[in-house]
Symmetry: C2
Subunit: 200 residues, 2 copies
Amino acid sequence: MPDTPENPPIDAAAPASASTRDRIIDAFAELLGENGERAATLDAVAAAAGVSKGGLLYHFGSKEALVEGVLERLATLVERDVAAIRSSPSGPVAHLIRTSMATGSALDKALVATSRLAQASNSTARDALRAANDAWYGIVLESTGDPVLSRAIMLISDGLAYGSAFLPGSSTPETAELSASDIDDLVDLITEVTAQRAGH
Amino acid sequence: MPDTPENPPIDAAAPASASTRDRIIDAFAELLGENGERAATLDAVAAAAGVSKGGLLYHFGSKEALVEGVLERLATLVERDVAAIRSSPSGPVAHLIRTSMATGSALDKALVATSRLAQASNSTARDALRAANDAWYGIVLESTGDPVLSRAIMLISDGLAYGSAFLPGSSTPETAELSASDIDDLVDLITEVTAQRAGH
DNA sequence: GCTACTGTACCGACTGGACGGTATAGTGAA
DNA sequence: TTCACTATACCGTCCAGTCGGTACAGTAGC
C-alpha cells in the first residue's frame, strides 16, 4: 500500500489549512507550554503535528531550527501586538495588563513556549523575551511618562504572565486564578495611581 | 588505582563543612538554577557536590528523592523567612519586595530551583511554590488590609523574581537589571500608594 | 502519448550517545 | 564491624539525528 492520501485534514486540533511548517511550529509551541521542554521531543512534536519524524526533519533540519521557528513566530506576533496595543481604545496600559494573562492566543502560546526555552538555558530565547519586554516597556513609558510607575506596571504584567504560565490551577483561594473582576480591580488601581502621579 | 582521596575539599565553591547531604542538595539546586532542569543530571550533581555517583545515590535513592530534598529545604527556608518578614523593622512589604530579587541567598536558590522543577511539570514543586506564595500573600494582606493592593504587590514581587531568575543579564538599558535605587523607588511608590489607600 | 528524469514532500527503521538506576568490590575512619 | 563512602561496570530506555527509501507532480525530448 503505497501512499494513502489519508489525511490532509487528519488532525482535528490542528488547523489543517495551515502549512505543514506552521502546524509543526504550533505543535512544538503547544507541547512546550503544556508539558515543558522535556516533553517536546521530535517524536512528540511530529505526532502532534500529524507528520512523521522524517517529515518534521525535512522541514526543520534540527531541533535548533525548530526553536528558531518559534522565536521567529514570537517576533512577528510581538510586532503585531505592539501595533495593536498602541491603537487600543482602552489605553495601552489596560490593554497590556489584560493580555498578560495566558488567554490561549497565538502570542501567549509563543510567549510561554519561549519562556520554557529560556528557562532551559537557551540564550537566544532569553534575548527574544527581553526584546519583547523592551518593546512593551517602551509603550508603557510613552503612555505614563513615569519610569518608576512603568516599571511597576511591567512587573505586574510579568507577574501575571509568570503565574498563569507556570502555576496554573490553584489549590487555595488566596492566590487562586485571578478572575476577570480581579483584573478589573487591578486595572482600576493602576489607572488611579497613574492619574494621581500624572497630576503630581 | 582504586580511590584517590584527591578531594575531600575538592570543590572551592561547595562548603566542605556542611553535611554531604546538604552539599548534594546545594549542588542540585545550583545546577537547576544556573543551567536548567536538563543539566541537573545525577552525574553532574555528584560532580558538583564532590561525591561519586554511587555516593549520591547512597544518600538519595533516586532523582525523585533529590527533588523532595529541595522541596523540603524550600519549605524550611520559607517558614524561616515568614518569621523574619513579620518582624522586619522596615515593614513586611518593603522586606518582601527587597528580597524578591535573586540575591544568591539560600532561599532564592531553593525558590529558583523549585521554579525550574515546576516548569518541568513537577506538580509537587508547583504546590510548594503556591504554598510559599500563599504564605507571603497572607502577610501582605495582613499588613495592608487591602486585597487588590496586596495582589498587585504580590504580582510585582513575582515579576521581580521571574525577571531575576529567568532573564538575568540584560542587553538594553531599558529593562536592565534593576538597581538598588530602582528598588528603593519601587518601595517608595508602593509605600505611598499603600498610605493613600489606607487613609481612603 | 510515452519515457526518462528532476525536485519536493514525506516515511520509518536504525544508530549512537546520554541518562537513570543497579550492582558490587573495596577503603578508611570510628 | 559498621558507616560512609569511592570506583567501575553495566543495563534499559529515551532521544536527536541519519539514511535509504516511496510517492508523486512536473517537464522536456522524442
